[in-house]
Symmetry: C2
Subunit: 542 residues, 2 copies
């Protein structure tokens, strides 16, 4: 450890700072930014870069961007990478940032990363708001609509969630949420615990850590009933099987918070900082995914940088039992098998799918797949040869990998690759439905518009792609994320107006799940991304 | 959060640095030290101050010593406090530090605390050493001595452990250990798991994080058989009931490490950084005490600053289950009741004893006691009125508090104060034996030599002090820590040569447990503190 030298008369002084030490170097060529430029670059870094590279820039899905790495590349090379992207998966930002912003960002990432503050339970509680008092919650739906076929849709850059009636395709309301909601979850039918009014309440988590509670029984103007904030940066949320608790996970601070599901009042905060599977301490140990185990009274919390899957028992918060299941780095997103026993999650930097047995609370299997698996909501179905299977898309290549996931009925096929389907481009989301013959995969990560704007559909029996569907042809738009309606007769695909993200020029395109023909376009949405059909999410099968 | 300003031409520049933020201030009156003085003060702070005030100086048993607190007091007042101590429990250091060292320390604590580095599992493993190969371990004791009546004695400032034959009172050997060993533990008879050769192997933990393994069956020159290092600063250690694992807890880094008990190779490291019971994040969340649960296959890890008692299941390290039992700050040291079900631990800054039920893995009770309870090894016995009881001394006053600890047989008395015994001075250690009529308490913390050099003995039935024993009259020496021999016929008390700590001028005084008369003085020991009788520690009853 280098200690601090005092009394320096410093010209162009750089303060080297990490959570674990202080260093100082003096140089005439240190990067500097005016304060306003620094603050703007810091905000843009948080909004656009921290997700992949980390707030402390240690790297995760993206590369390490600490000065020790970036200073070697230098200003010009960094500007070029930020503007044009790389083949390694870095996006281009020349359509999002100005030239000056790109230059400032290149400078900013050569400076030591500022460490954001902590957030105490008391600070979180100061954000808790009640919009509708629980005693005033209606006892039955206050509208005549078929709410179990509602879709709750993230409008990412608007900071809203749209509620869309799946029967009429009408947008019922846009609800103010946190910035760039990442996931929305409601209660599901649970095998052990039984929540009241399953599917009625939905919980959003914004990238700014804001949590909102939505009541689908309310009249549209009153659907937002409560709010809190549990972090400065967050990604995922879940509701306990008994409907009593909401849990959300922070990117920063690295922790998860259990809240009262009625009031959203934060009750318990647990740090996820700790050691990775190699025994190295990770300060920025971010919560990547949180799910509720359908067969046990526990949450599954995936910690990205440490490769630890935490199974958190929610039956006693004051004497909180957590099983820390060591798996692989970096954990990202996952989904349960249809039985609800096995949680299948991408360890995308390891090119693996990790499987956890939530009944035995232990690692079940690790499946080697290809470049950067990313299943999004995931897909489970029955294969003629392998029996029950699960599948994932990949961020790094156009490929769907399919593995057996029924160790009891089909032990020989379980947790082994069954087959792969090549698609035209790398994607982020895969989806199917128990009534469907098809599996859908998007190609969001492909750089060419005609591929990025198309989704591909393959047959569960022949494993052949039966149709490539160009969802949009408009410049600056991408097709992503599929969701079936309640009876599996329709598939909804988002058209994300990435370029014109401030305006409601995005849309959802609805397809006939059998004929694969377009049925409808739902317009007036701002950057629609994830969509959650109430009935399908209440009854996890696929 | 304040961000970093660059390009400052600074005179007397101070770098404000914590694990969670960066601040910078410029002033003409900033404290400065020459580099050599800074390094010496840093080392002395670590050795003498960090235990109570914390490496990051946030305060624990001692006060907060961050610049925001110390700058207000100023150089002269700080020097006086360091030299003379305070009535609040701060020791005087005018007999340990020179005037210059006191001045430098007063300056050092007005400067921002340097943050020590992390330690990875790989770094720990690089310290693992084998002095005797496990295949060469003897299959029976290699000496004709009654090893079950050995005393393993910490020689604090010598960095050694003395092995003393309790039958002959002869020092068999001095074994090189880490700096200032805090605790030494061996395997105990366990109700569920059964180690081989119980009582044979002993494990030391140094304040420098060094772990040593001692084999009492070896010839004296070969008793040190293995070594490793698991932290830069550490306090406690334990062995699993099956004898397979050793666990040690770090003050810095704040973590615990589970090692292979045969080789001492570190297997698993778990961070204890996290939130206190108020929901505030604590970076320096130090492991204060570690014990093995006699009735379950688990360790008890007490985290000082967070007030969390971690019950760590050692049956599956890769899928590690921990129950985090929220109690009170700041946890310090504790002991089991005679049944082995309840762990009784001091939360000394809260003036409470916390009781954990290790079978139900939950908080059992909190008992309000007086100023800064500190039981050391603790004492359990039978009271005529209250039935089974436990007792503690207090660092803050001359008082032994006694509470019922048998909730099944004596529910009305359980976890309530039964009675209190006033002693002449504040102490750190209490001890008794199942065969003894008496309970012994030291008075180590009293400032006056005649009290500090005396221990007091009270009767289990009358609750009256029956004798005050002046253990030594030599200047600069203190009496502390009692241990009974194997059959309870003797009590051994340490005489700590605090002033002349570099030389073997300390001693252990042996008393007849019935007549309370002096029997023997064991000389030639350097700063003897804790003593561990093999038989008594193998068979925890009192």
């Amino acid at each position: 450890m280098k200690t601090v030298k005092y009394g320096l008369s410093a010209l162009g002084l750089a303060i080297g700072m990490a959570a674990t030490g202080v260093s100082m170097s003096v140089s005439a060529a240190e990067p500097t930014l005016a304060e306003a430029d620094y603050e703007k670059a810091k905000l843009q870094y948080f909004q656009r870069c921290a997700g992949c590279h980390g707030t402390l820039r240690k790297g995760a899905t993206g590369k390490n961007l600490e000065p020790k790495s970036t200073m070697k590349k230098g200003q010009k090379r960094l500007e070029k990478i930020i503007a044009l992207g790389t083949e390694g998966g870095m996006n281009n930002f020349d359509d999002l940032f100005t030239k000056k912003e790109i230059a400032n960002m290149a400078t900013f990432i050569q400076m030591e990363p500022p460490v954001p503050p902590e957030m105490s339970l008391e600070q979180m509680r100061s954000h808790t708001k009640e919009y509708v008092a629980p005693k005033d919650y209606p006892t039955k739906p206050m509208h005549g609509l078929n709410w179990k076929n509602f879709f709750v849709v993230i409008e990412r850059d608007a900071g809203t969630a749209a509620i869309i009636d799946g029967d009429t395709k009408k947008i019922i309301t846009h609800i103010d949420t946190g910035y760039a909601v990442h996931v929305i979850k409601g209660t599901e039918h649970h095998k052990v615990d039984h929540a009241k009014d399953v599917g009625r309440f939905w919980y959003t988590i914004g990238r700014d850590g804001k949590v909102n509670k939505i009541d689908l029984w309310q009249t549209p103007d009153k659907m937002l009933v409560a709010e809190t904030k549990m972090a400065y940066d967050a990604r995922d949320i879940a509701v306990s099987g008994d409907g009593k608790y909401v849990i959300a996970g922070g990117y920063w601070p690295a922790h998860f918070v259990i809240m009262d599901a009625v009031t959203l009042n934060p009750l318990k905060v647990v740090s996820t900082r700790g050691y990775n599977t190699k025994g190295e301490f990770i300060n920025e140990a971010r919560v990547a995914a949180i799910y509720t185990s359908p067969l046990t009274s526990s949450f599954i919390v995936a910690v990205k940088e440490t490769g630890q899957m935490l199974q958190v028992d929610y039956t006693d918060l004051e004497n909180l039992t957590i099983t820390s299941i060591a798996s692989s780095e970096f954990l990202h997103d996952g989904f349960f098998d249809p039985s609800g026993r096995y949680f299948q999650i991408a360890a995308n930097a390891s090119n693996q799918m990790v499987v956890v047995d939530t009944v035995e609370r232990k690692l079940e299997a690790i499946i080697d797949v290809e470049s950067l698996p990313h299943p999004g909501p995931g897909a489970n179905w029955i294969d003629k040869k392998c029996g029950p299977v699960g599948g994932t898309t990949h961020l790094g290549m156009g490929l769907v990998s399919v593995w057996g996931n029924d160790p009891i009925g089909h032990p020989a096929e379980a947790w082994k690759l069954c087959y792969e389907v090549e698609t035209d481009g790398a994607g982020a989301f895969i989806r199917t439905h128990e009534t469907s013959q098809y599996v859908w995969a998007d190609q969001l990560k492909h750089p060419e518009p005609e591929v990025q704007q198309s989704v591909q559909v393959f047959d569960k029996d022949t494993h052949e792609i039966v149709k490539t569907i160009r969802v949009t042809t408009e410049p600056g738009k991408a097709a992503l994320h599929m969701e079936f309606n309640n009876d599996g007769s329709e598939v909804w695909v988002s058209v994300w107006n990435r370029k014109d993200a401030k305006n409601p020029t995005g849309e959802i395109v609805v397809y006939d799940a059998k004929t694969l023909k377009e049925l409808h376009r739902i317009k007036g949405l701002t950057t629609p991304t994830g969509k959650f059909n109430v009935h399908n999410r209440m009854n996890h099968k696929t």
